[in-house]
């Protein structure tokens, strides 16, 4: 508690962990490369330097606020320092901004403009290093790395993976996996959180835009889009739409204009997941084996479990993820249509399923062997929110100006339970709604207040299902998953159901979402998802009439084949 004088103005502070937070709270956006409030303080970029009343210069991120401090944030000396830092970074940086994946969203680019860098006096004598394009999810370009270490700390502290670290020293320093292995040769799960924090183009999303444009232009193809829950609360980011606002209607309009034939809702796929996963939970509770049941919606988590905790492989739900259930269903429907058309001797278009996802790991998920039917991929392409934003922009469409349109039927109808799959705790809540089976407001509230909502890394809850008390853990961030798995392994904790999402707060902060994803953005998206649920007339997946009709129709007798992995 106390006051700091910042640029001759008194600013109160309470429990801020460093001077930088106090400065930012006062409305001054001090630049940083290496500071993220959720990560440990690294203090390497030196952009947040401030000067005190005795002329001492220090990094505000690494200084605890003290009552009576007097600091200045923009003196000529500080300006000189910051410009020099940028100039030195640029000296050894690839400067092909126009062709960079982060063009327009790069912090280095932004700060060099902001600080008025018009020339770089130093020669770039850095050797060009090869790119790592081995991963299905992200591309690593060491030539664009500024060594801020954000990816290193995210991978280690948030995800508990530690795939990336610094190697070598001084001017030879680089960020790389051990022995400079390709990412595909490591335990990388493709969550893309490194990309979400990378301030430059050193880590970017593996792009699938080109083949999707080609499919859209191909008259012999029927291109279907499915939109994941977390996409709709983030897609407006680059169009000046309020953070967290539901843009689903406008997205549907935009996707039709760029050539998608049908636009559906992955929330419908999530409704199917709820049906299957709750059934599976009941079966396992009944039989008492393979408990706890782990959710399988998050491909980064599934891969993590396979890599690091193979002994728990059997606990992962056999359910496919929502996008894959939906993809398998759409392809099955297309096969039946094709058969009918062939019997009539008519031509039929080839169906291409494109998932619009907040997630980079989904790009790898669709290539897993279990997601092929008769040699063909159930989902053909995954585009992240960032990629679809680019496509909409490329087509000259301003999402903000579009009139919202409804999705196509029948698979455009989904419950609120499907919508909340986009945040941590959502899958659990959706399954519990199904199992308690009541859409009375008090019952829904009772479920939402069990402790499964919120942003904590590990949440625990208990709920009575008939005679039995079901013990639940809801986990977000793989580092937290590691803690929970170790506790289960050691016999210190016992659960019946464990939901894991690899990314903090769930898919709304996924690795494919528009950046920057600061605390305010996360909060707005988080609330946006629950807002969608609040506005849904149907709260329970089993009350979605389309779900009932597909179980009676296309899914009949094929539930296991289409919706489960063996």
């Amino acid at each position: 508690m106390g006051y700091i004088t910042i640029n001759n103005r008194r600013v109160a502070f309470t429990d801020e962990r460093n001077v930088l937070s106090v400065i930012r709270k006062s409305g001054i956006d001090l630049p940083t490369f290496c500071y993220h409030s959720e990560l440990s303080t690294y203090g390497a970029c030196r952009m947040c330097v401030v000067e005190d009343d005795r002329g001492r210069i220090f990094a505000s991120c690494s200084e605890v606020p003290r009552d009576g401090m007097v600091i200045y944030t923009n003196t000529p000396r500080l300006q000189h320092h910051r410009r020099m830092i940028i100039e030195l970074l640029l000296a050894s940086h690839c400067r092909d901004c126009t062709t960079c994946a982060k063009n327009g969203i790069c912090t280095l680019q932004k700060l060099s403009r902001q600080l008025g860098i018009t020339e770089v006096r130093f020669e770039n004598n850095k050797k060009q290093l090869p790119l790592d394009t081995s991963s299905d999810c992200v591309i690593r370009d060491p030539n664009k790395c500024i060594l801020c270490g954000d990816c290193v700390r995210t991978c280690e502290e948030i995800q508990g993976l530690g795939i990336l670290d610094f190697a070598f020293r001084g001017s030879k320093m680089q960020v790389m996996p051990a022995f400079n292995r390709d990412l595909a040769q490591t335990d990388c799960v493709g969550c893309g959180q490194c990309r979400a924090v990378c301030p430059t183009g050193a880590i970017s999303i593996k792009q699938d835009v080109a083949p999707v444009w080609a499919a859209l232009a191909d008259k012999s193809k029927r291109v279907i889009a499915q939109i994941a829950p977390a996409v709709r609360v983030a897609a407006g980011d680059k169009f000046g739409i309020k953070k967290g606002e539901n843009t689903l209607g406008r997205l549907a309009a935009a996707l039709r204009r760029i050539g998608f034939d049908e636009v559906y809702d992955t929330n419908f796929g999530a409704d199917l997941t709820v049906m299957e996963e709750s059934k599976e939970l009941l079966e396992r509770l009944e039989a008492g084996d393979n408990l706890p049941l782990f959710t399988s919606c998050c491909p980064a988590w599934v891969k993590y479990c396979e890599n690091r905790y193979p002994e728990f492989r059997g606990n992962i739900s056999s359910c496919k993820s929502p996008q894959e259930m939906f993809g398998a269903l759409l392809k099955e429907e297309a096969r039946l249509e094709r058969q009918k058309a062939e019997e009539r001797g008519e031509d039929v278009k080839t169906t291409v399923v494109v998932s619009i996802m907040p997630c980079t790991a989904k790009k790898a998920e669709i290539r897993r062997p279990e997601h092929f039917t008769d040699g063909a991929q159930d989902v053909d392409y995954v585009l992240t929110t960032t990629e679809i934003t680019r496509m909409i922009q490329e087509a000259g469409i301003d999402l903000a100006q579009l009139r919202p349109e409804s999705l196509d039927m029948p698979f455009g109808l989904a419950s609120g339970a499907g919508a909340i799959f986009g945040v941590t705790g959502g899958v659990t809540e959706a399954v519990l709604r199904r199992l308690t089976g009541s859409s009375r407001e008090e019952d829904l509230e009772a479920v939402s207040f069990t402790g499964i909502r919120g942003v904590d890394g590990i949440k625990e809850a208990e709920i009575k299902l008939g005679e039995r008390t079901v013990k639940i853990a809801v986990v977000n961030g793989l580092h937290c998953a590691q803690i929970v798995l170790d506790r289960i392994k050691a016999g210190e904790a016992q659960y019946d159901f464990v939901e894991v999402m690899a990314c903090k707060r769930g898919c709304i902060a996924g690795g494919g979402q528009p950046v920057p994803i600061g605390p305010r953005t996360k909060k707005a998206r988080f609330e946006g998802i629950y807002q969608i649920d609040n506005m849904s007339q149907i709260k329970l997946s089993n009350e979605n009439p389309i779900v009932a009709s597909v179980y009676e129709g296309i899914l009949k007798g094929k539930e296991h084949k289409l919706l489960h992995n063996d």
Binding site: G162, L164, F166, M176, A178, F179
Partner: protein, 157 residues
């Protein structure tokens, strides 16, 4: 994959230092002393035993010039190129050794695995400049000819 004896040796070294994470550097130093280099497989192995991320262990091992993932020769020659040795003409010694051994700045070890030639920034023996060491034995006041003679002796030995 290395032979089992390597892993047994690593286990022995780990047992000696304990599997505390702080013991990483002394452990890999001892392994390097044993094999005259740090086999990459053993770094991975030690990291796992100590519960350190492999990338973090690699980070430590590459930070220090001293660790080498390449097998080194029987004789490791370190030519000092610190300020004192440099002004007393260490470079001609180095160049003579390069030509005697058929080595270069890029190729540090002879094909017969007899010699590895490195430069160091100071050996702390400036009064004896220009100086070089062979397997940590110091040879003072060297000249290109003396260095060539030394190589002949070592080859004969």
């Amino acid at each position: 994959m290395l032979e089992q004896t390597y892993y047994d040796k690593a286990d022995e070294v780990i047992a000696e230092h304990g599997s505390d994470q702080a013991a990483l550097i002394p452990i890999i130093q001892d392994i390097q002393t044993e094999y005259r280099y740090l086999p990459p497989e053993l770094l991975t192995y030690v990291a796992e035993k100590l519960g350190i991320n492999e990338a973090k262990a690699y980070s430590v091992a590459t930070f220090y010039e001293n660790f080498s993932f390449e097998p080194k020769g029987k004789y490791i020659i370190k030519v000092c190129d610190g300020t004192a040795c440099h002004v007393r003409k260490s470079i001609p010694i180095l160049e003579r050794l390069y030509s005697e051994l058929g080595l270069s700045a890029e190729k540090a070890t002879t094909d017969d695995m007899m010699f590895t030639l490195e430069t160091v920034s100071c050996l702390g023996a400036c009064g004896l400049a220009p100086v070089l060491t062979v397997n940590d034995k110091v040879y003072p006041a060297m000249t290109p000819d003396a260095a060539a003679e030394l190589i002949r002796e070592l080859r004969g030995a």
